[in-house]
Structure formats: structure tokens, C-alpha cells
Symmetry: C2
Subunit: 481 residues, 2 copies
């Protein structure tokens, strides 16, 4: 794609000024509209070193209202568990425009450039990131700023020659110019592979005025077009494959239990090396994500507390997931979970999770059928990415019988300091047990993947459940350390 | 204080178990109450290496509801501009309990320990941090875990001897033990100097059961007591010194202007080295904070846009300050500004700021008179701290006449793409000009400090105002680079 670009396109100063004035006013209007209709906009600037990304981003920022617009660096620091983290964290909310210096495809480009190999997962996961945003009606604009080897060399020489700018030129920049053809190949490859998700806009960036004009006019036109179609409520109907297995619980025996006197001994046994194992995870920089789903009163909280007791309190973070806040509801539903992902060596425990999409949101009608139907594959994709990035990922479904739940609700009402744990909503949810059951079954069948299988925990006996969850965590850590 | 501590206090396992059970239930209840009345609680664990901070924090976490409780590390990474940043960022909101591993006095202790000198500013700024939280009715609990030199040596030897724990012992830990007396002196000094703000609880941490018991019983008792007195609405009346100067605007001439043809030339002149200067700030890791206050339509936004055009968009962050969100209103009023402070080498531009406390919140009655009266010194203290930490701090008051404001409002209504900038609230605020005027005067007089003086910008002529703000920034940067 890049090879056929005509880099001789130019604009005279007077032409530019005339065209720009009208575009600027239009952009101001359009940003207002974006805010009013609540369309999220994600713009990325990818391209060669010294192709002028900074200047162009600045130029685009000028007419914008800063309350609805922000520029982010896509670069990762050391601690992040994935190159997608900065993009997810700063993913635009409704009506907001997020501009990224660099794109989520950068890791893929650099990997091909360095290794000479094309690794499927880099591109696949980045495409998924983009697709998840398109699915939630985000406008995505991808710029690639293109200059020739000669022009890049001229610009780098120019920067290096001045004392005040020479420090801005890194070794990587110079190397890129020397190996321009190799890098061109990598860019070309990635651009072609990722052009179908949403198309790249190649910006002929040798003439600075022409580049500015092309960027601003593209943003204006793309926003205008997207606003007309927003929201794309009548998207393709998501169709799901028929489920082959009928009952994910067929092997689950809720009668499993452990006697109180055996519990103590077994608990000591499964926890004896847990602290040590968690330290080794930390020292080796391996991130751990544990996710709990289950019926109300199935024992998620108690199980989590018994587990975390053996972790260093500075290393883990328990994320209780309730109804989304106003800020969270204005983002892609995955955003609030990405925000809480651990750094390398850290632990995040989700008390409920993104599976809310296919459970409560499905059953209560908080999202459209297409949204929850699509969520199975979206969630599988994200989990695959995390596991590929080296995250140890464990997910528990805590199962109890309807009778046991009733028993626990009643007991909670009797104990003064547990009474607050039981709300009217719990009783309401309980009445909907029969609506939730098929959603639970379908979730377990559609998201039990090779890379992130569910562990179903027989929860009627609390002692049994606690031993099983802790043992699962212990054995998983042991198997990889 | 530490020298007179009896480290022989012990508790038998049976004594502990009996006492603990009752305390645990009480703590669960109290956390509920904390949440219900909305009292913020800040708990810190300071003390010797190997004194058992991690274990005690974990023990305290066990009975807590994780939705209202979180443990944070007080340690700074490299990029922060102040050792107070991790404490401010994670400062508890109403009803939340923030537990810190390490305290805001750590920097002071380490400084004395390293340099042998007592530097006033470390303690002063940390005391201010604590005082600002007490002022907003936060319960502050400060633990110091104390063990003897011999016990520390025993524990470190023990840790070092085992392969699985030896990596946890750092060189600093060993050095602390060798120089125990010196460090004891520093701790003693800081504890004595900071005991008056709110008292330290020295925990005799040699017997682990005794330490656990003391920590939990202290938390229970302090929360119980604080809940009885919450909120301390009838605090001391804040009295302000009479103002000596009467009119901060006596030298301000709103007729100052620049002719359109001169503007272009002057603009080129004051901006010629701005990009270069901003790069040098970045390279030298010097943080820059610019704060704009002023009447509606005084030209804050336009002035900011003309300035930022010369900065790298990845280096600066414009923070438009509007009415606080629900989350912000549940925190100390300074919290939302601390969150936005730049890293080293970064730039934050506040479009309105913490001065809202003594302007809109005062005039509209959004806070109690004591709150805004206290705010002058609180703000001066924070600004002093930032400047001491090496932040370049510039603050502008954009002044226009009432007539000019009316003129601008009317003109905005005429230009379609500026119409949205004018709201009913702007007209309402305009009617209250006479109420705002004394608040503005008092703010300028009380917060024009040696370390952070106001620059009053004569804003009736936009060209003049733009040149003056940019020139002020340029000259300030030049003077320090």
C-alpha cells in the first residue's frame, strides 16, 4: 500500500489558509455534535519517525474544546501486562475524542521488524481491540504518516545538526532510517492485514501543509459521515452456534462436603506453601487474575477472604463489581475491567466480572440481544490475549442449590452483623432463578475455552468450596512455577 | 517517645482468641457505620523494617468489606513531583477506609537519617497534608510498629537464612539494623514533632499476638469515638487577619491594548523560543503548573490555546475545572487537583482551579464560611510545597470590565459556532458580579505569596492579554533554565 503512494502532493500557503479556515469552524461544530449524540471517537497517528506526528496532533488539537478531547501516548512503561493497556485505559467514553500518538498495531510492526517473523497473535489481538470498539459504535480513524527514506534522512540530519533538537533523535530513529526498506515491509504487511477492520488513511506527510489539510479534512469528513449513521443500532444480527452439550452441571455433585474436623487439617495443607508461591509469582513478575462468578450467597466473599489472607496485602487488589457507575456506563463494557488489570507480578481478584454482560445484563435486558450474544466471543478473545501475554487466569463458578441459598438468606437475617449483606434485590434475583439458569448454562458452555476453562465449585458445603478454590489456585501456581 | 516503650508486652493465644472474636464482629459493624455516615478514614502503618507491617495490615483487612477498604503503598516511583502524591491520590472519600503501608512522614525520617540534618519543610508539608485531612473531618490513625535492635536483627537473620525469604531482605534493611540508633533518633524526632497534629499509636510489635490485638482494638476504639463526634461541624471559628491593602487592582489599567498589526510581530517575538524552552523543561525533568482564573469570557480558553500550540501535545494536559462530580465531592476539595499534577518534566494547565473554594463555593454558599476562610492558608501551603519540590508555578487572574463582558456575551450569541459557549448560568453569574468582586479582591490579597504571586492580566484587549500571558510564561521559563 505504501509503495504506491504519491509523495509529491503539495499545497500552497494561500490554498491551505483558505481551505483550513472553513474546516476549523466545521470541526468546532462537529465536536459539539459528537458530544451531544454521545459518539465515542478514537483517532490514532501511526507512521515513520520524524514524519511530524507531534505537530499534526497539535494542529488538530487547536480548535478542539479541551473538555471533550485528550491526547495520549500509546507507549507502554515496563509494568504493564499488555501493549493494549494504554489504549484500553484511555479508550474514549461517549462523546469524547481520544487521540493516540502511536497505534495498537505498533507492537506487531515492531515485532515483525525485529524478528522478521509474522506472529499472528499481535495482529489478531490488536484487530480484536479495534473490533470491540467498532462493536460499541466507536468511530475509529487510523492515520499512517508516510515519508520517503530520503526525506526521513534529511529530517533526521536536520534535527541532529542543531544542538537544541539533536537529543530528540534516538538510536532507534537512525536505525529505522538505515533499515527503511525492512521497516517499510513490516508496515505494509500490518497495514494490509488490518485494513479491513477499518481502513487506514495514508497521509502523504512530506509537504507539511498538505498533511495538515489531509488530516483535518479527513477527521471532519469521517465524523460527519459517522454522525449520520449513529448509532448503528440495526447492525448485523449476531447468530450463535447451537450448543452441543446440554448441561454443564451434569458431573457436579452438590452433596460433596468436608467434615469440620477434617477441614482444619486440609486447610493447613493446601495453604502451607501459598504465601511462598505468591511471593514467587511476584518475584518472577507473573500477573495473576482470579475471577469469581456465582449465585448470590454462594460464598464468593468468604472464599476470597480465606485466599487473600495468604497474599501480601500490597500485592493484590480485590475488585467488587456492582452496577456500573455513570462514567463506566459511558464506556465500552470491558473498559472498567481493563482498568483494574494487575501490573507484572500483581494479583487482581474480580468479585463478579465482565460475565455480567451475559448474566445480569442479558436477563434484565440492560443490553441488546446482539450485545450479549457478541460478548461470548469478545470475552473469549480478551481472555486469550491475557493468557498469551503471560497472565495466569483462573475463573470460578460458585454453584449452590436453590434450597441452600434460601437457607443462607434466612440465616443472614438472623445474624445482626450479616443482616446488611442481604437486600431486597437479592430476594428479587432469587425469584428469577429460572431466568438466570439458562444464561448460566450458556455462559459456561460458550466460554469454557482451552486457555481459560471454568472451575465449577460445588458450594453447598462451605468448607468443601473453600478447600476446592484454594487448592485450584495453589495447584495452578505450582504447575507454572 | 520510643525509648520509653515497654517491649515485653505479651498476649497468650487463648487470651488473644477470646478478645479478638468480639473485636472482629465490632469492626464489621463499625465499617458499616463509617459507610453510612460517610466518614473518611485514613490509617497508616509506619515502623521498622521487619516489624510486621504486611502481616498486621493483612490481619486488619480480613474482616473488612472490600468495597469500602483498600491498602495502598506510600512509596513513590521515580516520576512523581512530590512524596505526597501517592497519599493524595489515594486519600479516602466519604465512608471509605484507606490504609497506607508507610506514612507521609517517611520522606522526613529518611532525610534526617541520611543527612543528619532536620529540614523543616519535609515535616511542615507532611503535617499540612494531615491537617488538611483533619480539617475535612477525616479520621487519621497513625501506627508506629516498634521492635528493638536485637529483635530486628533476629528477624532479619531469620529471613536471610531461608532460601525462600532471603530476597525480601534489602541492603537498606540491613543498614537500618546496623545504624539502628541513628534511625531511632530520626524516628523519635519526627514522632515528637508530629504528635500534636494527631497522636501516634506506638505498637509494641515484638509479640505478634499482642501487636495484632493492639492494632485492631485501637482501630475499633478510634472509629467508635470518631463516629460519636462526626461531623465536627462546630469546629473552631476560623478568624482571618484584617486585610491591609484595599484594592489589588489599583495599578491595573484595562485600557492597555495592542494594535492588530503590532500583535503579529510581538506574538512571533514572544513565542519564538517557546517550543525550545518547553523541550528544555522536559529534558531537565522540571514540572510546570499554570493556573488560570478570571471572569467568564475573560479569554482564558483562547489564551490557553495560543500557549499550548507551542508545546508538544504529549507533554501537557489542560484540565478544565467545572462543578465537581459526585466522586469528587466526596473527597477533600484539593484531591481532584492533586490527581492531575504533572510528572517530572510534564505540564498541567488548570482552566479554573482550587481557587473555586474561595470564589464560587464561597459566593454560592457551597461550603461553610469556616471552610473557605481556612482555604486561603491551605492553598498557600500546598503551593509552597509544590514550589519547594521544584514545580514552576504560574497563576493568572484574567481581568475584564463588566461592559466588556456584556459585549463578549452578546457577540458570542451572534456567532453560531460560539453560541454554545454561553449558558444561562453565565448570565446568572454576571448578575452576581458585585458578590464576586469582594471575593476576588480578598483572594488576590490573601494568596499573593512570595512563592506564588498572581499575575493580573488586563484582558479587555484580547491581543494584549495573550501577549502578556505568553510573555509571562516565556520569561519565567527563561529565568530558570
Amino acid at each position: 500500500m505504501l509503495n504506491s503512494v504519491d509523495l509529491d502532493l503539495k499545497l500552497s500557503k494561500s490554498e491551505y489558509k483558505e481551505k483550513y479556515k472553513a474546516l476549523e469552524t466545521e470541526l468546532i461544530h462537529l465536536q459539539r455534535e459528537v458530544l451531544e449524540v454521545g459518539m465515542p471517537v478514537l483517532i490514532t497517528f501511526e507512521g515513520w519517525s520524524a514524519s511530524g506526528k507531534g505537530t499534526l496532533i497539535n494542529e488538530l488539537s487547536q480548535p478542539m474544546d479541551p473538555r471533550g478531547f485528550r491526547v495520549f501516548e500509546g507507549r507502554c512503561d515496563n509494568g504493564e501486562i499488555s501493549y493494549l493497556i494504554p489504549y484500553w485505559k484511555n479508550s474514549p467514553s461517549k462523546g469524547f475524542i481520544s487521540v493516540f500518538d502511536r497505534s495498537w498495531y505498533r507492537a506487531g510492526i515492531e515485532d515483525i521488524y525485529k524478528t522478521g517473523e509474522y506472529k499472528k497473535k499481535f495482529i489478531r489481538d490488536a484487530i480484536n481491540f479495534e473490533q470491540h470498539h467498532l462493536n460499541s459504535d466507536t468511530l475509529v480513524i487510523k492515520f499512517f504518516l508516510h515519508i520517503s527514506k530520503e526525506e526521513q534522512s534529511r529530517r533526521l540530519t536536520d534535527l541532529t545538526s542543531k544542538e537544541t533538537t539533536s537529543w530528540r533523535v534516538t538510536e532507534a530513529d537512525l536505525k529505522q532510517n538505515l533499515q527503511y526498506e525492512k521497516c517499510l515491509g513490516a508496515c505494509n504487511y500490518v497495514i494490509e492485514k488490518t485494513n479491513d477492520v477499518s481502513p487506514w488513511v495514508i497521509v502523504e506527510a512530506e509537504d507539511r501543509l498538505y498533511a495538515k489539510f489531509k488530516v483535518i479534512s479527513t477527521v471532519v469528513n469521517k465524523i460527519k459521515k459517522a454522525l449520520k449513521e449513529y448509532p448503528k443500532s440495526s447492525g448485523d444480527k449476531v447468530s450463535l452456534k447451537a450448543l452441543s452439550e446440554k448441561d454443564p452441571f451434569r458431573k457436579v455433585n452438590l452433596k460433596k462436603s468436608i467434615k469440620p474436623d477434617e477441614y482444619k487439617e486440609q486447610f493447613s495443607d493446601v495453604t502451607s506453601d501459598l504465601t511462598e508461591l505468591s511471593y514467587r509469582m511476584f518475584r518472577n513478575g507473573i500477573p495473576l487474575v482470579i475471577l469469581y462468578e456465582g449465585w448470590d450467597a454462594a460464598g464468593k466473599g468468604g472464599s476470597i477472604r480465606r485466599l487473600t489472607r495468604f497474599f501480601d496485602p500490597r500485592s493484590y487488589n480485590v475488585v467488587p463489581v456492582a452496577a456500573p457507575t455513570k462514567i463506566e456506563i459511558n464506556h465500552n463494557y470491558l473498559w472498567r475491567f481493563w482498568k483494574e488489570m494487575p501490573d507484572k507480578g500483581g494479583v487482581t481478584i474480580f468479585d463478579r466480572s465482565w460475565y455480567g454482560r451475559v448474566l445480569v445484563e442479558r436477563v434484565e435486558g440492560f443490553c441488546r440481544p446482539d450485545d450479549w450474544k457478541r460478548a461470548y466471543s469478545e470475552i473469549n478473545e480478551v481472555e486469550k490475549h491475557l493468557v498469551d501475554q503471560g497472565v495466569v487466569f483462573i475463573k470460578f463458578w460458585m454453584e449452590i442449590s436453590q434450597e441452600e441459598q434460601l437457607h443462607r438468606f434466612e440465616r443472614r437475617l438472623e445474624i445482626p452483623h450479616k443482616r446488611w449483606k442481604i437486600t431486597e434485590e437479592d430476594w428479587r434475583n432469587r425469584e428469577k432463578w429460572d431466568n438466570y439458569k439458562p444464561a448460566v448454562d450458556e455462559m459456561l458452555l460458550r466460554t469454557s475455552t482451552d486457555w481459560a476453562p471454568w472451575t465449577i465449585v460445588e458450594g453447598n458445603n462451605k468448607h468443601y468450596a473453600r478447600i476446592k478454590t484454594i487448592k485450584t489456585v495453589r495447584d495452578t501456581l505450582k504447575s507454572i512455577l
